[in-house]
Symmetry: C2
Subunit: 143 residues, 2 copies
DNA sequence: GTGGGGGTTCCCATCATGGGAAGGTCAAGG
DNA sequence: CCTTGACCTTCCCATGATGGGAACCCCCAC
């Protein structure tokens, strides 16, 4: 099977298949003309990578997960630790994004949103203060 | 004021100050020796940029917000639209991250996490199926 | 005049992915 | 047999925002 078909069956782009190979995640056989050849085990690896990426694992974690997957003597504790560390990272990022969304939604709620120029959103960006917030004392934290 | 002091007062790195200049967000005067010179208006711009970045706006939005901020005849509706579009983007990203976290947490909850090798997390990465989920019909969607 | 702490430009790296050029290969069909 | 088109190969470049670092210049205090 050529790279195009393999990529299609695994649900990733041929470009990324080459990339995964270049970082050492799989090692397809080559024909004499240089073409890469894939069979079921390689497809399985590519699908594994895709699923891990869909769960947001960075490539470095994917590499470790692949190694654990291949190691029949792995301890599931290791996999679980990797997963839970990643869950913590995901939740931290999600919380940060939601905090931004909440602040900005609050600001937007105070903005007329009409033809007039005054706008608490721009005010906040200028001053770093939310609408109605007390001015910082003059020697505050450098903002 | 030199770039180091300006960066410190605005709460950004000197490196980023130069970068913001390179993409046209500010245009500090230069001394004969090539040094950049900053005064209060530039500091205000840098703080504005920092606050917008802290709310997660991409630089392209920051550029637009800066233009609106400088335009005393702006319509606050434009600012509000930018802000609410960004809120939607933030919430979409946050939701995606949380969905990943939820799936992964669910998988991890089913993993013994001990010295044994069997692990529903690896199983899901291999098959794309959550624990207990029915096998897909043989001609399913290519996964 | 020298040392140290700035400043300047330029290049490279991140992370995962895509775009595209230049060229080789293969299969089908006229 | 030759063309055409689809596919493959490698290599370079770009993203977005940021940091690291080299090589070099400048200024002030001692």
């Amino acid at each position: 099977m050529n790279i195009g078909e393999a990529a299609g069956r695994a649900g990733v782009s041929a470009k990324m298949v080459r990339h995964y190979e270049s970082i050492g995640l799989l090692h397809p056989r080559r024909l004499e003309n240089g073409y890469r050849v894939y069979a079921e085990p390689e497809i399985a690896v590519l699908r594994f990578i895709r699923h891990a990426r869909e769960l947001g694992f960075p490539m470095e974690d994917v590499r470790r997960l692949l190694a654990l997957w291949r190691d029949r003597r792995r301890a599931s504790a290791e996999v679980k630790r990797l997963a839970l560390d990643h869950v913590a990272a995901l939740e931290e990022k999600a919380a940060a994004l939601q905090a931004m969304a909440r602040s900005l939604r609050h600001l937007a709620a105070h903005c007329h949103g009409d033809g007039r120029p005054d706008c608490p959103i721009l005010d906040e960006l200028e001053t770093g203060r939310m609408p109605g917030e007390a001015p910082a004392p003059p020697d505050c934290c450098g903002t």
